[in-house]
C-alpha cells in the first residue's frame, strides 16, 4: 500500500479536502532526523522528520511520540494544516461524526471539508498491520504510518531511532 483512501468512511454530504489528499497521494521522502532535546520540554521518546513532497518540494513535518501508557501518537502537518494524526495501541473505540465506531487498537484521523483536524470531533479510519509493520513498537508504528501515507523512509537510519 502507498496511500489509503479514506473516502468510504465519511458521509455522502461531506467530502475529503482535495488539496490535502493530493499531497497525501504524492510521493514523499523522509529527509532528516532532527535532534532538538536541548532546552525544550519533550516526551521521553519522540521523533521528528522533515517530509519532502517530490513534485513541489514542499516540506511538511512528521512527529511521533510515546505516552507513559505505551501508546504511540503520530502527526503529519505543515504550519497551518494537519493532514493526518494517528493513535496506536489505544484501548478505546474512536467515534466518528457519522456515528461509526472505529475499534481499537490503531486508527488514523483524517480531515474532511466539514471536520478539519483542528476540531475535536473528527473522522478516523482503522489501521491494520501489514507484514513486519505490526504497529507494536516505535519503528514498526512509523513504518505502518508511512505505508498509509505514501512516505518513503529509505533515507532515514531506522537503527538510530
Amino acid at each position: 500500500m502507498s496511500y489509503y483512501d479514506p473516502i468510504r468512511w465519511i458521509d455522502a454530504s461531506d467530502s475529503l479536502v482535495a488539496t490535502i489528499e493530493a499531497k497525501l497521494r504524492a510521493t514523499k521522502t523522509a529527509e532528516s532526523n532532527r535532534e532538538s532535546r536541548s532546552r525544550a520540554y519533550l516526551p521521553r521518546h519522540e521523533l521528528e522528520l522533515d517530509i519532502v513532497i517530490a513534485e513541489s518540494g514542499e516540506v511538511i513535518r512528521l512527529t511521533e511520540w510515546e505516552d507513559r501508557a505505551g501508546r504511540f501518537h503520530l502527526g503529519l502537518a505543515n504550519t497551518s494544516d494537519t493532514y493526518r494524526r494517528a493513535d496506536f495501541k489505544v484501548a478505546s473505540y474512536h467515534h466518528n461524526p457519522n456515528g461509526v465506531d472505529i475499534p481499537p487498537p490503531h486508527h488514523m484521523h483524517f480531515p474532511t471539508v466539514k471536520h478539519s483536524l483542528k476540531e475535536r470531533h473528527t473522522y478516523a479510519h482503522p489501521v491494520s498491520p501489514t507484514g513486519d509493520k505490526s504497529g507494536e513498537d516505535f519503528v514498526s508504528v512509523l513504518r505502518l504510518f508511512c505505508d498509509y501515507t505514501n512516505i518513503m523512509l529509505g533515507r532515514v537510519n531506522l537503527r538510530l531511532i
Partner: protein, 283 residues
C-alpha cells in the same frame, strides 16, 4: 424532557464516563472530557513506597507541545505550561516528559482536583495556541497582486484605481475602472478577498454592490460591465465555501462575471480578457 430525564442524562455524561483503568505500575483515571484527538483525558496514578502516591499527566502535555511545535523554550505553549506549573507548584520531569505531583495517601483531595483542573485546562487550550492567525492581510495581497499585474500592461493612466462608482442608490468603491473604447463599455473590477474575518459578509457586499451598480440606466451609448475577482487564499472553511458559492451562483442573475483568482484557469481567463481590453488597438 422531564427533570428526572435531564438529571439522568447529566449523570450519564459526567459520572458514567469516569473510568479507572489498571496499567502496569498503577492506574489511569479517565475523565469525562475528550482531548483534541477525541479520546478521554487521563490522569496517571502510581503508588510509592513511602505511603505517598504520584499523579501525572501520562506525558500528554509534552506530547501535545511537541506535536504542535510549541515545545521549544520561549514558544507561547511552553511558556503557558511553565506559568501554570509554577502557580500550582507542580513538578516537571524533563527526562520523562511528564508533569507530576506527589500526594500523601491521607486526604489531599484538593490537590488532586487542582491537578485535574490544570491538566484539563492545558489540554483544552493548547491546540488553539498555535492555530494560525486569520489572514487579515489577505485583501491587501490580492489587491497588490492585481495591481502589479495590471501595471505590467504599462497602461496605468487609462485605468482608474480605487474609483468611485455611482449605483442606483449608493456611491461605491471599486478597485479599478476603465473604459473600453471599442464598444464604449465601462469596465469595473471589484476585488473580494475571502480570507478576511467574515467571508460571507464580503460576499453579501459583492451582491449588493453588483445589484446597485448594474441597475443604473447609463447613457444609451455606454454599457457597464462588472468583474468580481475573488480569492479564498487556501481557506477551506465552511464560511468561505458558502461565500464562494454565493458569489458564483448570483453572477448570471445579477449580470456580473466572477473570477476565482485561486483557480489558474479562471485567473488566466480574467488576465486574458483584461489584456485584450487594454491593448493599444482597443483603447
Amino acid at each position: 424532557m422531564t427533570s428526572e430525564e435531564l438529571l439522568s442524562q447529566v449523570k450519564e455524561a459526567v459520572v458514567n464516563r469516569m473510568r479507572v483503568v489498571a496499567v502496569g505500575d498503577g492506574f489511569l483515571i479517565q475523565l469525562p472530557f475528550d482531548n483534541y484527538r477525541g479520546e478521554p483525558m487521563e490522569i496517571g496514578v502510581r503508588l510509592q513506597d513511602n505511603g505517598s502516591f504520584l499523579i501525572d499527566d501520562v506525558g500528554y502535555v509534552s506530547g501535545l507541545l511537541f506535536e504542535l511545535n510549541e515545545h521549544t523554550e520561549g514558544a507561547p505553549g511552553n511558556l503557558l505550561i511553565k506559568q501554570l506549573v509554577d502557580s500550582y507548584e507542580l513538578e516537571i520531569d524533563y527526562d520523562d516528559g511528564i508533569i507530576t505531583e506527589r500526594l500523601s495517601i491521607t486526604g489531599e483531595v484538593e490537590k488532586l482536583l487542582d491537578f485535574i483542573k490544570v491538566i484539563t485546562s492545558i489540554e483544552t487550550v493548547l491546540p488553539f495556541i498555535s492555530r494560525p492567525r486569520k489572514k487579515v492581510e489577505g485583501r491587501r495581497r490580492l489587491t497588490a497582486q492585481l495591481s502589479r499585474e495590471i501595471s505590467q500592461l504599462r497602461l496605468p493612466l487609462k485605468v482608474e484605481k480605487l474609483a468611485k462608482v455611482a449605483g442606483k442608490h449608493e456611491i461605491w468603491d471599486v478597485e479599478y475602472k476603465y473604459t473600453r473604447k471599442e464598444d464604449n463599455s465601462e469596465i469595473l473590477i471589484l476585488v473580494a478577498d475571502l480570507g478576511l474575518k467574515e467571508p460571507r459578509e464580503r460576499a453579501a457586499h459583492v451582491i449588493t454592490l453588483a445589484s446597485d451598480v448594474l441597475d443604473v440606466q447609463l447613457r444609451q451609448s455606454l454599457r457597464r460591465e462588472l468583474r468580481v475577482v475573488y480569492s479564498s487564499n487556501g481557506d477551506h472553511s465552511e464560511a468561505t465555501r458558502r461565500a464562494v458559492n454565493i458569489i458564483d451562483d448570483y453572477q448570471k442573475r445579477i449580470g456580473y462575471k466572477a473570477f476565482n483568482y485561486s483557480d489558474p484557469m479562471s485567473k488566466s481567463l480574467f488576465a486574458s480578457i483584461t489584456v485584450q481590453d487594454l491593448s493599444p488597438m482597443k483603447m
